[in-house]
Homo-oligomer: 402 residues x 2
């Protein structure tokens, strides 16, 4: 089935806003087994919108339209959709009541121009927006079914998952249920992860699980898009694959699904009744900034120290004594000489001290100043995670040169 | 003139990569006085590309195509461009030689599949790529002139500015020269900045300078897209507008063009022979991270201290004595009670101590934990900038509640 994503709005068209709504929608489609076929961007312009709707209606089987459902005069999606579908606009009494009640609950009176948001193409299919005043709807234009969603990311994301994707799956004939399982890893590049996971049966044609990667250096996200006849079938298909991935990626997995490495670290520190101190150099606060501002870190994060002069660097042992924290982490970075360049690198020395003693690890990273800084922060966090979980802190990672 | 931007590639189509090439190209067009008319995204698929080229050629006057010029089999732009233009592919001996020489200079032999990158549509206009192996070219398809650019952002950006935009301006009949002047401010929202700059003659129709804003909270970028008959005319038009903007936005201007607030601060510290120490709480390292990692900060940034327990907070005076730095900055954040929410806020206390004494400033910011953290960092930096420049540190900003 050919699915097109049609984004509207001058802010997107002129590049003032980067179109992250598009990439989110496209990723979600892929994750549930649908294939984005085409993307279109047009401004808040009646003529362009009409042409875009007609061309998409001739090209695709389904079109998700994003934006243009607001209360102002430059929001044209309902009007142009009605024109393209060859129908008039009709007031949805239901949506007027819902909007009026929503304003009333917050002790406010609905402004008159919000009525525009309840004017929908005649005979359209209503699509609920549980968290905003821009409801969605579906109409047929040409040979395609069009699904209209608001431009506000939070509202679009929820409506996409709860309302639009189920309709697209039904339209495409895909039955059953889907789930996206995610593993976050550090220290393995995309091509090696692909090798490490090769030969798993479920990833083969018809196995019901599609493997995908998303690199956010220095982390890698491994995504399993699973499909089953029902929840039980889905769970039965996914469980052995998840187990196999945990086995193969092993210690490199830093978190799963919505977890983060910093959340895992904070959880382990809390569990062990620990407090933490951090010393850093070239990373200049970026390391502490991953943990200190977190909810719950108030009582755990005791102290962070930043120095740029290598002579003033504090060891983990000294920091632990001076700060009174039960665990101390130090990340020292010895930068190469000279100007920034693609092979500019540094030697990273990570030290961890606790009541039982101390451990340390060295690694050389290259790739320019920014790359090295980002890598050093993650290496420091990962050593701390490994130490807290009783895993080896000096396992070789793909990004280091030895 | 209708300019379309046509982005190709599966990574963009499926949302794996966010399409920042599109937003960059669209912004640059607006900045030189051209108007993006349409955006299209298709994958590495022969049939889709051919349809996209034909539809764009029927719709637009000029089309910038991005991507698909690489050496691998899924790079199809030259082939499909030739098909759509009704011509064959011809080897560019010139580009073959350039590529071969470029490899030779780095002591390498050009892989055979790079030859594909020198196969261009017959009779096309060659567009130089001074920093890569994917050259550009221009052909006519339908009623539009198509300009092909590589997907590598660094190469696309340079070719867009040096090669494509001059051709587009010529095609559109816009003569003369253009310049983009940028002012970065902190403390003024977009709508108030718009008010503060109202009535400036040059911004009126035919005045030759177009005003635009780009908000990157908490900073605001004010952009002047200027157009003149020649460099002298351009300078004469721009100079009084620049002076007027500096007067009206005044102390709120933190930097101009490629400058950053942290760069300005580091420059003033160096100029005054100063060293710096920073103490922070809830910002957790984000403040130090703006200055400490900079080139040149090694000898200036003496020490950063992070504590989350309000009782352990260090004052600027104490920090200055303990660190031995000549200037100390402290940013303490007293967060509201309870869970994160849209009106969650904090009271920010900024202190600065130097040899002459100390100054302080308080402000209440709201907008949720992340918003408050980002605002507190910028407020701290801006107070330090103001102090170093001899400006009042307690000027009211738009984001604070009193």
């Amino acid at each position: 089935m050919r699915v097109e994503i049609l984004c509207t709005g001058d802010e997107i068209l002129t590049g003032k806003t980067v179109n992250t709504n598009y990439s989110h929608m496209a990723r979600r489609l892929v994750e549930v087994g649908l294939e984005p076929y085409w993307g279109t961007t047009v401004g808040d312009d009646r003529e362009s919108l009409l042409l875009a709707f007609r061309q998409a209606g001739a090209r695709a089987d389904a079109v998700i339209v994003n934006g243009g459902l607001g209360p102002t005069v430059d929001d044209l999606s309902q009007e142009v959709a009605a024109e393209a579908a060859g129908v008039g606009l009709v007031l949805s009494e239901y949506w007027m009541t819902r909007m009026t009640e929503s304003y009333a609950r917050r002790g406010r009176v609905m402004p008159p121009n919000n009525k525009k948001q309840a004017m929908l193409p005649a005979d359209c299919e209503f699509i609920d927006n549980p968290i905003g005043t821009a409801c969605g709807f579906a109409v047929t234009i040409g040979k395609a079914r069009f699904y209209f969603t608001p431009g506000v990311p939070r509202e679009m994301r929820r409506m996409l998952d709860e309302q639009v994707i189920p309709r697209l799956l039904k339209q495409s004939g895909i039955t059953g249920v889907t789930k996206l399982k995610r593993f976050h890893s550090f220290g393995v590049g995309e091509s090696r992860a692909d090798e490490m996971l090769s030969g798993i049966e479920a990833f083969k044609e018809g196995g019901g699980v599609k493997l995908g990667f998303q690199a956010h250096y220095p982390q890698l996200e491994t995504k399993l898009a699973a499909h089953g006849n029902d929840e039980a079938d889905l769970a039965a298909r996914l469980a052995p694959v998840e187990a196999e991935i945990r086995k193969r990626l092993g210690n490199f997995i830093i978190a799963e699904d919505d977890q983060t490495i910093e959340g895992v670290i904070l959880g382990k520190l809390r569990e062990g009744g620990h407090t933490l101190a951090v010393a850093e150099t070239f990373t200049g606060g970026h390391l502490a900034a991953r943990i200190a501002p977190l909810v719950g870190a108030e009582t755990i994060f005791k102290r962070g120290i930043i120095v740029r002069d290598p002579a003033a660097t504090v060891s983990a042992e000294t920091l632990r004594q001076e700060s009174g924290a039960s665990i101390a982490l130090s990340v020292a970075v010895q930068l190469d000489e000279g100007a920034d360049r693609p092979d500019f690198g540094a030697t990273i020395t990570v030290g961890i001290a606790d009541a039982k003693g101390s451990v340390s690890r060295q690694a050389r990273l290259i790739g320019g100043r920014d790359w090295v800084r980002v890598g050093a922060v993650e290496l420091g966090l990962d050593c701390l995670r490994r130490h807290l979980l009783g895993l080896p802190v000096d396992e070789r990672i793909d990004f280091e040169r030895r």
